[in-house]
Symmetry: C2
Subunit: 198 residues, 2 copies
Amino acid sequence: MPSTSPTLTAERILEATEEVLRRHGPAKATVVDVARALGVSHGSVYRHFRTKAALREAVTKRWLDRTTGLLAEIAGASGRDAETRLREWLAALFAAKRRKAFDDPELFATYSVLTTETAETVVSEHIADLTGQLTAIVRDGVESGVFTAADPAVAAVAVFRATDRFHDPHYAREWERPGVQDDFDALVDLLLRGLRTR
Amino acid sequence: MPSTSPTLTAERILEATEEVLRRHGPAKATVVDVARALGVSHGSVYRHFRTKAALREAVTKRWLDRTTGLLAEIAGASGRDAETRLREWLAALFAAKRRKAFDDPELFATYSVLTTETAETVVSEHIADLTGQLTAIVRDGVESGVFTAADPAVAAVAVFRATDRFHDPHYAREWERPGVQDDFDALVDLLLRGLRTR
């Protein structure tokens, strides 16, 4: 009779799910595949994630959160110059997305499908996390007199939207083109000029 | 025996092609359908467009050029204030895309497929036309001392990229959301602050 392994954690299930997704693709991966990969019953998996949709949401969130975690350090370093941090943060976001797209294209394609399939809240929470980090940087800049922005949150969203081309997976194919780094730099320069106090 | 009607112009063929695409969708529309709609032989159509691909390219270009034509007037009014023109131009582009997406969603979906299918040159020429117009406005602004930009063409591309979310069909679903106009206005304000001479 299959029983829940004492070490079966949500994190282990999510790791296995990512592997199964990588191997079978998002269309074919099932909870039974995940359970088999872990050597447990599918009931054990359902004890942690009540539905297949919940499991997919959780694994997508985990993938998205990896980027958020990377950037949190830059956003949190409130002692440092806000302009430098804003540049670094945008460059780090672009670099993280490029790495995801090119180092593991199958997994990137899988998650690109999952982000359009899963509950919109997962993606919008991710975007709220990121724009929240940006808001913190803009607010620090306003407080130190480097930036001018009537509402740092509005300015942060504008900066995030303006750089869509350099983080939205829809544009992944553009990230390899010659000149993409120049385009990115020109855009960041323009946005920083827009934020800077005159 | 079918013969070429003396009034069979490329424009008439393209009009009929658009109707056929609207009716049958991009997957099913054929050159024979277009010829039938015009009451001519498919040979007559091929005399104007040598391949089905060439016909699809031409009809896509025509659809894209409608937007370019609308905006050319704003871009060309070099006597008027560059900042006002830049705002108007970006608003007109966003409005034109929204109209295309919502007034005739089937045709918009059809052309969204066609722009990803047809030779990339058609789309990149369209984008070059649009950024060329933007460059003219930025250059006028630099010449009249309103804007500062080391290279107006580079600044124009940055502005165009920054506003992708408000003209790239990929984001069409976002254009109906509440707050989209505020997001657009905040972004344009930020970009204009970035361009303005201090």
